[in-house]
């Protein structure tokens, strides 16, 4: 290294590189002069980091998250870019989080190097926690797409925003809506069996149900845990048949819930309802398409796009036209990118600190999202109006049954015998 021995701050340029950089400078200057005439003063594109796990265990979710971000970016670019920045186009800088937090942080570092103005995504809570922390070191705005852990927005990080709801808000809504649903139907359900996977997610949910359901007038007959992966659900089905509960509340990942619901169907076990919370399958069109009978009338409390917005139907048509399923990851990421665009329009410059301020100041005027939320208002990075909705599989479709303001179907509960 010829420059290593020179004192710090020495201005001399090592011989071999001087010519190249001068030539580069000349070319750049020539380009700058020529560009306005050729392209009509096209402003520099804004680079936006999109972080999703597209390999590893979470690959399916990551693919659908990326799809949502792409749809939003294409839409903005086709409509003339960001107006406040002279029509600047958005350029996606994609990063694969490889389904783990380390992958997420590594990609944030790379995106930082490539000069992105913000990062959107993460999907899983552990990835969101690590990646937003890494971004905070550079004052790089980070918009969480899905990650529901309430820890994400309670660390005092100024750069981190979550447009969707957290675990506390989701479960509160789940319990409240269950009571409303049951009361409206004349209280057909009193007894409950909770089935959960024995990891952090399922056990946490089961504990919460154990604490909260009795005070709301439900009796938990039994809490049954199962490992992931589970080989067989026959015994769980047998126990459920012996217990004969009014309601089954499962918290499992995709494969295990599909196995459970198919086994229940096969053994002709029909409770008055299956009520899921943040379930891996019940709000997933793959499940509805592949096993329509097992999926029929299953309820879930989860993220879901606002069915009344025309944009939702338009996006869904676009997604389904490419032979893909309509999953919640797509509208959530679409909306998160729109949130950044809205903030850029108000900030008037592609500057990180200005963008953070603009994001924090997002108000009811932000209407380009397609989630079933009220007027946007951020407190400590959390959108206060974010909420989960109750969905139910009806007629081979996933419908919203709660809250009434956003519903496009009436609940079928108790299930007809």
């Amino acid at each position: 290294m010829p420059t290593a021995t020179k004192p710090a701050g020495h201005a001399a340029i090592p011989p071999g590189t001087g010519g190249a950089s001068r030539r580069g400078l000349l070319l750049g200057a020539a380009g700058a002069l020529a560009a306005p005439r050729l392209l009509g003063a096209q402003p520099a594109p804004v680079r936006l980091g999109i972080l999703q796990p597209v390999t590893g265990a979470l690959a399916q979710d990551g693919e659908y998250g990326r799809l949502g971000a792409e749809l939003a970016i294409n839409e903005i670019n086709a409509a003339g870019g960001i107006r406040a920045l002279g029509g600047a186009q958005i350029q996606m800088v994609f990063g694969d989080a490889r389904s783990n937090p380390e992958g997420g942080t590594a990609e944030v570092e790379r995106m930082q190097g490539e000069g992105v103005v913000a990062v959107v995504g993460g999907f899983a809570s552990p990835i969101c926690l690590a990646a937003s922390q890494a971004a905070s070191r550079y004052d790089l705005p980070y918009i969480v797409d899905v990650g529901v852990s309430d820890q994400i927005v309670s660390r005092g990080l100024r750069n981190t925003f979550r447009f969707g709801p957290g675990f506390g808000a989701v479960t509160r809504a789940a319990l409240d809506n269950l009571v409303t649903l049951n009361n409206a139907a004349g209280r057909p359900a009193r007894t409950v069996v909770v089935v959960h996977e024995d990891g952090l997610f399922g056990s946490g949910m089961a504990r919460l149900m154990g604490n909260e359901l009795p005070s709301r007038g439900f009796e938990i007959l039994e809490t049954i845990s199962h490992p992931t992966p589970a080989r067989d659900m026959s015994n769980i089905a047998l126990r459920i048949r012996a217990l004969n509960p009014d309601l089954i509340i499962p918290s499992s990942y995709y494969a295990e819930f599909v196995l459970l619901s198919r086994t229940l169907q096969q053994r002709r076990i029909r409770p008055k309802g299956i009520y899921c919370v943040l379930n891996g399958a019940a709000s997933n069109f793959r499940f509805v398409r592949e096993f329509p009978d097992a999926a029929n009338l299953v309820m879930d409390v989860n993220h879901w796009a606002d069915p009344r917005k025309p944009k939702t139907a338009e996006l869904r048509r676009q997604v389904e036209a490419t032979n893909r399923f309509w999953l919640y990851n797509t509208p959530l990421n679409y909306s998160a990118v729109m949130l950044v665009v809205d903030a850029l329009e108000r900030a008037g410059r592609a500057d990180r600190v200005a963008l953070i301020e603009a994001l924090a100041a997002t108000g009811p005027g932000f209407d380009r999202h397609i989630m079933p939320y009220g007027p946007t208002r951020f407190v400590n990075g959390q959108n206060q109006s974010a909420q989960a909705v109750n969905t139910q599989v009806q007629d081979n479709d996933i419908r919203v049954i709660f809250p009434a303001d956003f519903a496009d179907a009436r609940p079928v509960f108790p299930w007809p015998t």
Partner: protein, 292 residues
């Protein structure tokens, strides 16, 4: 501990037997390879996953019912197993058993990640018209695909028993299993017998995969769910014993089912591994294993 009405307990036992037969079939391949080659095949789970994807592709691309897919998949997987032993594991081992462990472990990693790259991590399942059918036995409902699995697993074990006992190939396999050097001296091609055995073991997996798919799902890690149980069955039944694998599978199936019923699916798994340890402590040759 909750008490259950007798028909529920009886159904749990039957469920255990039905599932256990398929476990036994998975263990059959493992025990055969151990009995003859004296190696533990760590790629067994990954080969099962591969076979399940094979059955899935047969269904989704060629429209073959998983039970029909047994017919093409068995020769394909026999050839695959034969080739893997003859041209990969055998040469790479250089006669040292500890090398074989590493080679099969490496093979499993390559297979799993290859499948991940091709099929991604999606959980896939097949939709067959009989998936939801049940066989009614008094008050008990038994899943039709499981009943088929039980029958076919027994049939495969019977065929294998006959092949090993009555054919020249079977006699050669048993000769190599008992005394490798002696078998070589009387003119048996030991390398060929090794590869045939590995091929039979892999073909058993192809059958098991086709039996599992109608009521299970497939993803790149699915084989691991079965292979740990298969190891326990091999130890319980006696390393290298064909009837031991089948009876061990049935026994483990029932233990898993009953402990799952009484202690929950999470805790119920302990029963299986408790047996594993107890057998190793008090009867290391297993139920049917020859005295070492």
């Amino acid at each position: 501990m909750r008490s259950y009405p007798p028909e529920i307990v009886a159904e749990a036992v039957l469920n255990g037997l039905l599932t256990g037969a398929v476990y036994g079939l998975v263990a059959l391949g493992l025990t055969l390879v151990y009995g003859v080659l004296h190696i533990i095949n760590f790629a067994h789970g990954a080969l099962l996953t591969l076979a399940m994807y094979g059955a899935f592709v047969a269904w989704s691309v060629f429209g073959l019912d998983p039970y029909v897919a047994i017919l093409p998949l068995v020769p394909i997987f026999f050839a695959l197993g034969y080739g893997v032993q003859r041209f990969v594991i055998g040469p790479a081992s250089r006669g040292d058993d500890s090398n074989i462990l590493l080679v099969t472990l490496g093979l499993s990693i390559v297979l799993e990640n290859g499948l991940l790259a091709i099929f991604r991590s999606d959980t896939l399942s097949v939709q067959v018209p009989y998936a939801m059918e049940v066989v009614e036995l008094g008050p008990m409902l038994l899943g039709f695909p499981r009943v088929v699995g039980f029958g076919v697993a027994f049939l495969v074990a019977l065929v294998l028993f006959v092949v090993l006992g009555m054919t020249d190939t079977g006699r050669a396999i048993r000769a190599v299993a008992k005394e490798r050097t002696g078998a070589a001296l009387v003119g048996i091609d030991v390398r060929h017998v090794y590869a045939v055995t590995f091929g039979i073991g892999t073909a058993c997996l192809a059958v098991a995969a086709c039996l599992l798919l109608p009521f299970f799902y497939v993803n790149p890690r699915v084989g691991n769910a079965f292979v740990l149980v298969a190891f326990t069955i091999v130890v319980l039944g006696g390393m290298g014993s064909v009837p031991g694998a089948l009876l061990g599978g049935l026994f483990i199936g029932v233990v898993e089912s009953l402990s799952g019923l009484y202690f929950g699916e999470s805790l119920g798994q302990i029963g299986i591994f408790l047996i594993f340890i107890l057998v190793l402590l008090f009867r290391p040759t297993g139920l049917f294993g020859a005295k070492a």
